[in-house]
């Protein structure tokens, strides 16, 4: 598109990055972001640790949290240098991974078939729709009764949450595929399984990944709740536990860690999506569809 009146060559790699950053530094945006975060931290600090305004001083202040976090010999027993910090992260991540894998493994095929076959949808969708409005947390007692131990109920809850989202989005994804692709596949001589593999699956991918993005979010949401209510180990448990024994600094640490880890996982899902949908990436890069 832009192969005319080009002056000079497009820079690449590091040069491109440097150019972009130089350009960005000319706009007020990075400074504003800096100021915004600064204001937020400063007011937190002032209200909390400097002036000690009520009720702000009741929660631990930024300096306190950061020093504890980086402390080799933490006052409340948990920091970047202690083992149980990582155990909690690991346990939560493992649960998320299992739940997300099960939910995707069940939800995507179910959604694909619901979107593809009207008959199948007629039979399964009503059950899904009846169960869906029930908040995931309402399942907690049932999950405890149905499954023994700590681990299974927690994973079950996280799975349930992301399963609904994934299945529904996948179904919508299949339904969103333009009829003409099915027709084109038909008149090129496809059998049913060709249509499924070459039209239904790739066509639904954008929706599936939108669904997975949301799904990993709700998985974390439910996991934290479940861990808070009935868990041992995990970041949600860490929050609840340190709250119970008045280790408020550890609690804030756990909250921030949770935010960070959650952000990483959803970035991973996004990256996976972009990799699997090259055709979309490249078309967008062209300013095309």
């Amino acid at each position: 598109m832009s192969n005319q009146s080009v002056s000079g060559r497009p820079p690449s790699g590091l040069h491109y990055f440097l150019h972009k950053s130089r350009k960005a530094l000319k706009t007020p945006m990075p400074y504003l972001a800096f100021i915004g975060i600064g204001i937020w931290l400063l007011s937190y600090f002032l209200l909390n640790e400097y002036w000690r305004v009520s009720p702000f001083y009741k929660v631990p202040g930024p300096v306190e949290v950061v020093t504890e976090w980086l402390n080799k010999d933490p006052i409340w027993g948990t920091s970047l240098f202690t083992q149980d910090y990582y155990i909690n992260i690991w346990v939560s991540c493992r649960r998320i991974f299992i739940a997300f894998a099960i939910a995707t493994g069940l939800g995507v095929p179910l959604g694909l078939f619901m979107g593809w076959s009207k008959k199948f949808k007629d039979y399964t969708f009503p059950i899904l729709e009846t169960l869906r409005p029930i908040p995931i947390l309402a399942w907690v007692p049932l999950a405890i009764v149905m499954f023994a131990g700590f681990e299974t109920p927690i994973i079950y809850l996280a799975t349930l949450a992301s399963f609904f989202v994934t299945a529904l989005n996948t179904m919508l994804g299949v339904e969103s595929i333009d009829e003409s692709y099915f027709r084109a596949a038909g008149c090129l001589g496809s059998k049913k399984h060709h249509v499924f593999l070459n039209v239904v699956v790739p066509g639904a991918l954008p929706f599936i990944f939108t669904g997975l993005q949301i799904s990993i979010g709700v998985a974390w949401f439910s996991l934290v709740a479940a861990e808070m209510i009935s868990g041992d180990f995990g970041l949600g448990y860490m929050i609840m536990d340190s709250f119970m024994v008045n280790k408020y600094t550890t609690m804030v640490m756990a909250m921030l860690t949770l935010g960070f880890v959650g952000w990483i996982t959803s970035a991973m899902v996004r990256a996976a999506g972009n990799r699997m949908m090259q055709w979309r990436e490249r078309a967008l890069g062209q300013g095309g569809v």
Partner: protein, 278 residues
């Protein structure tokens, strides 16, 4: 003549078809309930325990319990309390979230300053805030409402911001060339143009609000002090070992969520007449 008879035949086929979808749905739900009932009774009848389902009280028991519970004022009080919390948290989130979202959309300095901290805090699930807000707020009631507010707030801001920024620039240009001032643009283009996104955000936010209220009630109200609400209803039934009542609570809260999102859809429907096609 031939035409009209064909007419009738096709019309019938059509209604049969729509009925088919309905009938299949009803059929599968009935099957679902029957399987559940049989699964629970299996142990009594044949002496074999069905895993998972066997432990969950059968629909008949649930129905019986429900018909009892509806006459207890405590049940309806739970409804009332939960609705109150949801409504309050949701309303505050709307009142704060919509202006913040709009301000971020129209003023790039405001956006540049406040969007980054907003994005840093957003990945923390609202429930993780429960203990912190219990410490912070003087009463449990306030802390539940705060967490509820937080749950809906992020969704609303993101939707309003996205909605306002995706308004077609042609509307702005058309209005500008007809002499619109900045204030006119905001009032006559950005506000109505964002309305659909506001309602989408509200519907999603409402769902999250219910989740959060329920969890907060189970975590905080379930323990000591205040309490009440459908979450507490479920939790205390569970603690008391009344499993059928737990399921009554679950269904009730599903219903409550459904009712509130229908309400939002209805308000959206009447306030956006241009979205009604024909």
């Amino acid at each position: 003549m031939a035409q009209s008879s064909k007419n009738k035949k096709d019309g019938k086929l059509k209604s049969l078809f729509t009925d088919l979808t309905l009938r299949r749905g009803v059929f599968s739900i009935v099957i679902f309930l029957v399987l559940w009932e049989v699964g629970f009774r299996f142990h009594d009848w044949f002496g074999i325990m069905v895993p998972f389902i066997g432990k969950i009280d059968a629909p008949s028991l649930v129905a019986a319990r429900w018909s009892e519970v509806v006459f207890k004022p405590g049940y309806w009080e739970s409804w009332y309390l939960s609705f109150g919390r949801v409504f309050f948290g949701f309303m505050v989130a709307q009142l704060v979230g919509i202006p913040v979202g709009l301000l971020m959309a129209v003023n790039k300095y405001f956006r540049g300053m406040f969007f980054p901290p907003f994005e840093i805090l957003r990945p923390i699930p609202p429930l993780a805030w429960v203990p912190a807000s219990i410490i912070f707020w003087p009463t449990t009631e306030l802390s539940i409402m705060f967490v509820t507010f937080l749950g809906a707030f992020y969704t609303i801001v993101i939707n309003v911001l996205g909605g306002a920024r995706s308004i077609d620039v042609q509307y702005l240009r058309a209005a500008q060339s007809m002499g619109a001032t900045q204030w006119d643009l905001f009032r006559k283009i950005i506000l109505p143009g964002t309305l659909p996104s506001i309602f989408i955000g509200a519907a999603v936010g409402m769902g999250i609000t219910w989740e959060v209220v329920l969890a907060a009630e189970m975590i905080s109200g379930g323990g000591q002090q205040s309490g009440g609400g459908l979450g507490f209803f479920i939790w205390s039934s569970y603690m008391g070992g009344v499993m059928d009542q737990v399921i009554v609570g679950m269904i009730s809260i599903g219903l409550a969520g459904y009712i509130s999102s229908s309400l939002i859809r209805y308000v959206g429907y009447i306030s956006m007449p241009w979205k009604r096609m024909f």
